[in-house]
Symmetry: C2
DNA sequence: TTATATGCAAAACATTTGCACTTGA
DNA sequence: TCAAGTGCAAATGTTTTGCATATAA
């Protein structure tokens, strides 16, 4: 099997590549949505059924802590994950379908910096989520 | 006891004013921070110790559904509440202390409208939280 | 070889709920 | 009076953890 992008990053970071982590890395690499732990458990198990939910959680935490994954907690009660891109972006969540749309806006980023600065703070990170419905329905 | 602002709103909405709700309304009226359920339970119990945590949760949900309270889920795992103001605002959370600072920025609001529109959506609500640390520490 | 990772089941944690009892209007 | 609210304890759903076993390097 070709070594996927996530697995490459793991090796780069010196993480021990177990069979389970390889499968989870593969699943994440080929997922272009924002799955939750349960969903990743299902997808991983379809490939190798000796992966427990506990390992999914432990691996997701490991990958997040190593800057390989980003964890999001949208207003649906469960954490969802996506692979880290080069470019920062925020999210618009379709309330009706749960679909997540990514967007970027340099101006909003700058405005946030300005606001934090004015309040005497340095931004560590932020969360901007727009909950919306499709027009003309 | 003088009827507080929250209690007034409850009466306006036709909510039945039980002893427990009066106490919780009073606590909320005099709280100018963003307490979680456990904290509100403590504060309410200090006034009247016949209030259960279940009632706190039920009341918080009731008040939220009636537009009396706003519920926030910052990245600390528990929901926090604040009384609804006239003016919309967003939050900056001090990572070190947990302190929450409110801010308003008309420009950011407009930009979000613009982005959603461009994507073909109408905004229902949004969440903008800046996680930051104090400068010059 | 051995520090680290895993599976399993139990625990943790915030929140919700069923049920018998109480209370506000 | 009686629909609605409450306390209590048990249940929930997601995530974490202790421990004995397995495995990568």
């Amino acid at each position: 099997m070709v070594v996927n992008r996530i697995e490459q990053k793991c090796i780069q970071k010196g993480l021990r590549m177990t069979e389970q982590r390889k499968v989870i890395a593969q699943v994440l690499s080929s997922s272009h949505d924002h799955p939750d732990a349960e969903e990743l458990y299902k997808r991983s198990n379809a490939i190798n059924n000796s992966i427990s939910l506990a390992t999914i959680y432990r691996t997701l935490k490991l990958f997040s802590n190593n800057g390989i994954l980003e964890k999001h907690e949208f207003k649906d009660g469960k954490s969802r994950y996506e692979t880290v891109h080069k470019d920062h972006h925020d999210h618009l969540i379709d309330i009706d379908t749960g679909k997540v749309i990514e967007f970027q806006d340099e101006e909003i980023e700058k405005l946030q910096e300005k606001i934090a600065n004015k309040l005497g703070y340095n931004i560590i990170n932020h969360r901007l989520e727009i909950y919306a419905v499709k027009k003309n329905k």
